[in-house]
Amino acid sequence: MLKHKAKVFRPTAFAFPYLATTIVFVIVPLILILVYAFRDGDGNFTLQNFAQVFTNPTNLTQLLKTIGIAAVSTLITLLIAYPTAFILASQPFNKMAILALLFIIPMWINFMLRIFALKSLLVTLGMKQGYVMAVIGIVYDFFPYVLLPIYTVLSNMDKSYLEASRDLGANNIGTFFRVTLPLSIPGVISGVSMMFMPVFSSYAITAMMGDAETSVIGAKIASMFTHQNYGDYGPGSALSFVLLVLVLIVMVVSNVLTRKTNKAPAKGGKA
């Protein structure tokens, strides 16, 4: 009976304006990247742009540098955010409503202003611009975005698992590594995915806090597209295409990881 009614009333047409804008402003531009990546100045098919990306040593070191910066800063952020989330989700801190909010609030403040504030403090403390300062800046910027998903998972965790673990004889450390940590992995993965790839685009932070050596691949792509010369659009598109493939790889890996970790404890427990 429900099915019959659903057939009568299906306002799927409401999605059409969004569908149209998505095609024009998201899908077509991605196709344009593909087209520009594989064509030369005269409009013929070429692999020259990709050859240029991969044979140019500065591009390659730039890409490796970016992966390094993203990995190091993500790891540091996790090492600070996880314990913070763990403490905030535990007794008696979970009863203090405003406390957790204080850690998340910076999310709502314009990041350029926050980075400017941080730089002012670090310079006052005598620090020089460079890799270290840039990594501190990236950690500072992304911290609330990594903290939030981990905190959400930890504070929604079914506490009876912990009691069961203790009743069965595990001590606090054993309970943490065998129960809490595995159950919180989905939060960690979503925190990492909020940070790792976005760091590739965070050239504003490296420009503000790094030296001449410090930059991420996003800066390179940005420099290829702010000139008004068409010559760079090809190689720039090729480089973007490489980034696009990287995004897909990261997405697939994180999906597989999430599925794997979800399988075990999901049985019988609430998700």
């Binding site: 429900l2 009333f9 306002p11 799927t12 047409a13 409401f14 999605a15 304006p17 969004y18 569908l19 804008t21 998505t22 402003f25 998201v26 531009p29 991605l30 344009l32 990247i33 913070t84 403490i87 801190f93 409503a97 405003i98 909010l101 204080l102 850690f103 609030i105 910076p106 709502w108 314009n110 990041f111 350029m112 202003l113 926050r114 400017f116 504030a117 941080l118 002012s120 403090l121 310079v123 006052t124 911290f143 995915s193 976005p198 685009s201 050239y203 504003a204 503000m208 691949i217 792509i221 940005a222 597209f225 702010t226 008004q228 659009y233 598109s237 973007s240 980034l243 995004v247 997405m251």
Partner: protein, 276 residues
Amino acid sequence: MNKKSEKISLIAKWAFLIIVLAGIYLPLIMIILYSFSASREVGGEFGNFTFALYKNLFNDTKLLTATKNTIIIGAASASIATILGTTASVGIHYMRTRAKTAMDAASQITIVNAEIVTAMAFFLLIIVLRDAIKIPVQFGLGWLIVCHTIITTPYVILTVSPRLKQLNPNLLEASMDLGAGPMRSLIKVMLPQLAGAMVASFAMAFTLSLDDFVVTNINSAGSGVDTISTYVYAGIKRNMPTDIRALSTIIFVIVLGGLIVFNIVKNKKAKENLHK
């Protein structure tokens, strides 16, 4: 565990939280302090307490224009995104499984993609529209509103869709059984129930837009339109204008104060409802 070690662990936890909080707030406090100093650099000699930077700020047309642009782009794109995203959510909600999966995947593209790639995809699009198809479009405020709408709409869908799933479908059917047409039922029955989610998604789209740098930086391309983010970024190459400290202080105080008050009121209300 005995009482003493419990106490030590509690102190250690507080110490950790306070160190992290200090890391988060010391930079902001420093800017707030130095917004009352005429010192050229933050951290320089403080000198006399003064409102000079605030006076400068209200005469600084460039920075004020950048602030105005930021708010115009944010408000316009968040309004359009809220309408576009809410109607899309309703449409997607009634789609069959396969179409639904396809739409969900399409709406995820800009969320998972590297922002720099999204930014230059917009850039290529307007170049092709302008130079190859000869449509009279140009970089500027309007184009930035379009770009921001596209990148924030998926977040509106993410916020509204779960709420739609919770709605009682019988209410809509009851309304139609009682003789209201489908359109009227949607507006009179479904829309009021979505109001909360729409407000939340507007707020989210607005803050995402305010915070954006990469898309704005690349798609303002020579149009001279600055937002707060791109204006501060440009300050890296020349000297950083001192009145940014005054603007930062105003923004910090509004955001921090607003959110804390909002949450205290919300918690109080939740508690009152619990007692009822």
